[in-house]
Symmetry: C2
Subunit: 428 residues, 2 copies
């Protein structure tokens, strides 16, 4: 079967692309895209998305965690909901599709279903999560973890770079920390969660596919690392007396890459800064980060042990002190077979008879949502080798149109399955 694309789908895809641009213009910085949790831009994006949700026929609200929600009732009011969506926050200097595309596709799917007046056996809820990236407070998935009832009160004391705590930012945003549990969805109120997202990798592009079925979302662990030595005058301190924290940290950064390559694990140091930072001062302290991901948790944890071993070896050799503090941990999340099959069936309807299956190297809100309901994901090809978290992030309008059709069909497939197996309504 050849790929087929209705003119209507192309027109909608064009609108989705335009709206990605529109959302991409809501930024905390004039020169680049950055939209972080509980910022004025968070509010502006939620408000704009709420408008689009309402145009699509959804009842809207912002939940107690700052997630933007919209609901289309099913065959009768108050049925458990199939959640569809993605996130609305971004990293710093972000692209316009990571997260946003999935929210906008979900709105269009809901709009089509509302227009066709199909009586689904569940409510359809679109969610635009906040703080999937963890850009501001370092701890990702705050919005989806709150929705899944997993908000940890210890997080209130997380602080941003300006020293503002999550609690303070929450209050400044107009939310009430005491009501955070109102964001939590009971498992029996949910049917499942489907998310469309750009792949953020090169595999679909390399295989010449528009869409793919996600098998599982990689586990990730994140750490704040510190290498401490002794600052000193760059001129007066001979090499054999130096305890240069930056040379030690640099040595480790190179080792981290080598451990990652050897173990088939993705290890990234994204943040690194030397202190005190004077051009003529030997660095006494380096603060850096480590992000570890793998398809299988045990590979990731073995790599971590090896990285720690080498870190302590470097520290000992150079008279430094190495410390690491875990700030995030998520184990690998498998997608539910029945929802994976619904996604695959949606892709097949676009003419791709044997949909490609791939695991997500990146984390997604589904990791948190899986605590309360089954999840699955549809990946959309992105160009340029899958570049993401970068302004060059790109997606083809044609692929967006395919994704729209596939995603709508996936929702229909879930509806058929729920009709055939009504016990799936509200199964945790």
């Amino acid at each position: 079967m050849m790929p087929r694309l209705a003119p209507e789908s192309v027109a909608i895809a064009e609108r989705v692309m335009d709206r990605c641009d529109e959302l991409g213009a809501i930024s905390g910085s004039p020169d680049l895209l950055e939209r972080v949790h509980l910022s004025p831009e968070h509010r502006r994006a939620n408000d704009l998305v709420a408008t689009w949700m309402e145009e699509a026929g959804l009842a809207t609200w912002q939940d107690a965690a700052g997630n933007q929600c919209g609901r289309l009732e099913g065959a009768e009011p108050g049925l458990p909901a199939l959640l569809i969506g993605s996130h609305l926050d971004t990293v710093r200097d972000a692209g316009r599709y990571d997260g946003m595309l999935g929210v906008l596709l979900a709105i269009e799917v809901a709009a089509r279903i509302a227009r066709r007046d199909v009586a689904l056996p569940f409510a359809l809820e679109v969610v635009g999560f906040t703080d999937e990236e963890g850009t501001r407070f370092g701890n990702a998935l705050l919005g989806s973890r709150a929705l899944a009832g997993g908000f940890d009160p210890a997080w209130w004391d997380l602080s941003d770079r300006d020293g503002l705590s999550l609690r303070e930012a929450f209050v400044d945003f107009g939310l009430d920390p005491a009501r955070i549990h109102g964001a939590a969805r009971p498992p029996d109120s949910l049917v499942g969660y489907l998310e469309a997202h750009i792949e953020q990798g090169p595999y679909l592009e390399d295989a010449d596919r528009a869409l793919g079925v996600v098998s599982s979302i990689a586990g990730a662990r994140r750490f704040e690392l510190t290498m401490t030595g002794v600052a000193g005058h760059a001129g007066g301190t001979p090499y054999d007396r130096r305890r240069d924290a930056l040379v030690g940290a640099s040595d480790l950064v190179v080792e981290i890459e080598s451990v990652g390559r050897a173990a088939g694990v993705i290890a990234t140091v994204g943040r690194l800064q030397a202190f005190p930072g004077g051009i003529n001062v030997i660095p006494g302290r380096v603060e850096f980060s480590l992000d570890l991901r793998a398809e299988f948790d045990r590979d990731r944890d073995h790599a971590l042990a090896e990285i720690r071993r080498r870190a302590h070896e470097i520290a000992e050799r150079r008279g430094l002190r190495f410390e690491s503090r875990e700030i995030y941990r998520a184990d690998a999340t498998p997608c539910a077979p029945w929802l994976r099959e619904a996604i695959a069936s949606g892709i097949r309807r676009t003419g791709d008879e044997e949909p490609m299956i791939l695991w997500s190297r990146a984390g997604h809100d589904g990791m948190a949502v899986s605590a309360v309901t089954d999840i699955a994901m549809l990946f959309v090809r992105c160009g340029k080798g899958g570049i993401s978290h970068h302004p060059d992030e790109t997606v083809e309008m044609r692929d967006v149109a395919f994704a729209l059709d596939a995603f709508e069909d996936a929702v229909s497939a879930v509806a058929e399955r729920v009709q055939a197996e009504p016990e799936r309504l509200g199964a945790a």
Copy 2:
């Protein structure tokens, strides 16, 4: 001859130590010592030092570059001056002796000479230079270069971390950029420049000496380095597609150390930061610094060529772009033999018959001043392996007392020499 120390010298050394503490409390930060060029703390330090100069019997003024000056006339008014002093600015998180000690010792030497009513064959001028370190605008020795008539108008456009230009900061401080040349001293108005400074290294401590004669000040070159790759999502980008600027920069930091060790050159990366700096984003750009020093300029330049070769090799291998921009260059500065001998004779008078001779790994104001007059330096032992540019910087009060006696005797030795060779008055 055994070391001997007059009780009066010990009492003065105690005052010098107290004043180092007092100056050390004038900081732009509540938690650490940082006093940078053209800051409110620069003004406060100058004002306080001016008070002490006046108590010592000097006529004081702040020159057109922001240096604090004080003058004791010689046998007749208006004679060429022997400059003595050091600098009053600091690095970030500095110690209390680097620079300050030399200014305070110079004031005490001038005070003693004023008290004894000795008619010197030259005026004695104490100078507290500003911006020896280059902490704020990256370009060191601004104060002493202005005094030496070497102020380059291109420097007006240097900017600090907040984007404020040197010109703007100069005006905000109450100085007039158009009058900067008023700070320049004609060569025939000067006899020479003597500076006492902590060693900032371990050599005197290792040799169990309080004081040392500096043979020359090492040349230094400083660079801003940039490694540019492509930012991307930490999860989605496989290793073989990454162009991770931080792994490349880290690789180079380790190589820089290894080149420095092998070449007998001191190479330091003091500043390094990865951008955009997201914990889950592959760094697309790293900005870092390089500071290179050696006793001989040719060794330093050979090391630089080797570092550049390795940088380009790393960049090529990793698909990165390496750039370097020179922001400071000073060739090695020899101390004038006749002034070195005056310093040595001062040290001998303290009981150390064969003064240790060593070269300065650190840069000093003398490098700039040598453009207009002969220079020499007295090094004072500092403890703890010579730790400097760090709050743990330390010096013994007993060594300060020896330095005071030696420095005073060095000035007397210069006076004797000038009396014997009057052509030295005003020799460039």
